[in-house]
Amino acid sequence: MPYTADKPKPKESSEQLRARIPGWGVDLDPKDRPSVPRERTDLATGAHWEFPERQEEKVPRERSVEHKFLTPVFGTSAPPAGLSGALRKVAYRYSEGRAAHWLILLAADRINAWESRLASFISLHPDNPVTESGVLSEFSGHGFRSRFGRKRADLAHQWIDPAVAAGPWILACAAVVAIARKLRRHKA
């Protein structure tokens, strides 16, 4: 009865749950929970420095303006390059509190994908939309069967996927054709 002070009773008592579920209640006491209390200063971390030695900055490394200086350790996965890299450097002029920071980064991500896709065509390892999309697992992972009677996670947006995947290619081809026609007319 939710309109009185009584707390609803669980269907099973603690004793029944302890008998049915392995380990029920072993961490009932919050003291047995490793993140209680939230902040503890008595944990040994293995650090044998007060401030870590600093990693060498071999190429200029972008950093958040919210940091006083470049952190002593940083990742070196993919330094900014090309148009997307220039955009990313612009994004890092803004703090993480500004929408501009994140929106420019997301735009740079899309440009980065296109840059690399185009660059791959002049490389020895061109992009392969069939193998890279993993779509072959539709055959090995019961993809056909999963479309009927069972809910696939991607069913909700499958109607728009072909347009999203093929749309930019169609637009790019149309632009090339339009430019070629214009040039031919210009020559004639």
């Binding site: 939710p2 609803p8 669980p10 099973e12 749950l17 049915r20 579920i21 380990g23 072993v26 009932l28 047995d32 929970r33 993140s35 902040e39 503890r40 944990l43 293995g46 650090a47 044998h48 420095w49 870590p52 030695e53 060498e56 972008e62 950093r63 952190t71 002593p72 350790v73 990742g75 996965s77 993919a78 997307s84 990313r88 993480e96 994140w102 980064l105 997301l106 991500d109 899309r110 980065n112 994908a113 690399s116 896709r117 992009d127 392969n128 193998t131 890279e132 999309s133 993993g134 072959l136 697992s137 539709e138 992972g141 999963s146 809910k151 696939r152 996670a153 991607d154 909700a156 947006h157």
Partner: protein
């Protein structure tokens, strides 16, 4: 070496890359023996996480053998079998010295709002991840732990994130004896959150999802009561009905930003990337918990703004608790639970995929084909 490489939204491939080098005296290079794809890798795969650059290698769940160590490494040596928490942390900054390892201030040059994570975009530091044959492990004296002799490697790899995060989510719920706990999401983290809720004395554990095979796992593996939200006109009203019209004492969001949203949310988040994913599960958690209850969030959210029903949280007097899991802090207790048989991590592994076939692995996991719950990635022996 062979490594998974990101090529843009919904596209990955395996490439030859240089074996990573020691960049800092406390680095180690680890030869990966087992990795996993995490549900939160799908945020990267879908292009939702800002500053995910082409050429990056994903993978923040991995175990392996130490291949090389830097000059200041004291606790590890080549040949040691190690498990590496998904957080990269220094152990000595303001936050680490208070046990907040996931909030380390010394490892992420790109942002202050999040710590360092292996293979998780430049927003999380720009480190390559472990879906490869070798990986650079910074602060090797701080992050990794030796895998106990008695522990299976598959259990160890799940302890680097999924198990620890699920357990942490239950802790954030501040569960008291007899509490009703509702977990949104029956993926690996949700399953372990449900299982861990019992360890903390819950009186009733409910799991909500839309995939029947995952709900079956929640029933058999996590002893949970389950509901498929697709079958209900309004899952929030149903939750109220089954909790005597009060709501659950604790709601755990183990979904994150990519819950199936309505059309507007789908367009603004998935397509236009104007918000950090649709926060449907979080809003259901806020609506389903009782007044004065606790909402625990360890589903992954990006840094972009999301349309969260904050007013309801205020008006209901809720406690909202959230963080990335400080994994290594959980390990001693979790090791005991695994050894005692209270948690059996590799029970949820459904697929073991060779690194060469990782693109298929991502597609299957993203589309939820073939009853997939947790895929492991196995680099080929060489």
């Amino acid at each position: 070496m062979k490594a998974m490489v990101y090529r843009g939204p919904y596209r990955v491939r395996v490439e030859e890359k240089d074996i990573p080098k020691l960049e800092h005296p406390n680095d180690a290079i680890v030869r990966v023996s087992l990795a996993a794809i995490c549900g939160s890798d799908l945020h990267l795969y879908h292009g939702m996480m800002p500053d995910t650059r082409v050429g990056m290698t994903f993978g923040h769940e991995f175990v392996g053998t130490v291949h090389e160590v830097g000059s200041s490494v004291q606790n590890l040596k080549p040949g040691d079998r190690v498990m590496v928490p998904f957080n990269i942390f220094c152990g000595s900054c303001y936050f680490c010295s208070r046990g907040l390892y996931s909030n380390c201030h010394n490892v992420n040059a790109n942002a202050t709002a999040v710590g360092g994570i292996y293979g998780y975009s430049h927003t999380c530091g720009g480190y390559d991840g472990g879906q490869s044959e070798y990986v650079r492990v910074p602060f090797a004296d701080v992050g990794p732990s030796l895998i106990p002799e008695w522990m299976e490697e598959e259990d160890a790899v799940l302890l680097t994130d999924a198990v620890a995060t699920g357990y942490f989510g239950a802790q954030l719920g501040d569960i008291s004896e007899g509490d009703t706990v509702v977990v949104f999401g029956a993926g690996p983290v949700g399953l372990f959150a449900a299982k861990s809720s019992w360890l903390m004395g819950a009186g009733r554990v409910i799991v909500i999802d839309h995939l029947e095979y995952r709900l079956e796992k929640a029933r058999s593996f996590a002893h949970a009561e389950t509901y498929n939200f697709v079958e209900y006109d309004d899952i929030v009203v149903h939750m109220k009905k089954i909790t005597d019209y009060l709501g659950a004492d604790v709601a755990i969001d183990a979904v994150g930003a990519e819950a199936d949203g309505n059309f507007t949310q789908h367009v603004t988040s998935s397509q236009l990337k104007l918000q950090g994913g649709s926060p449907v599960a979080l809003n259901w958690a806020i609506d389903s918990v009782r007044k004065g209850g606790t909402v625990s969030v360890m589903g992954a959210y990006g840094p972009m703004f999301s349309a969260v029903k904050f007013g309801d949280a205020v008006n209901k007097g809720l406690t909202l608790r959230m963080n990335q899991c400080p994994v290594k802090r959980q390990w001693p207790r979790l090791f005991e639970h695994v050894r005692n048989g209270y948690l059996k991590p590799n029970d949820i592994v459904t697929h073991r995929i060779p690194l060469e076939h990782i693109a298929e692995g991502y597609h299957m996991f993203s589309a939820k084909l073939d009853g997939i719950i947790k895929p492991l990635i196995v680099p080929s022996p060489s």
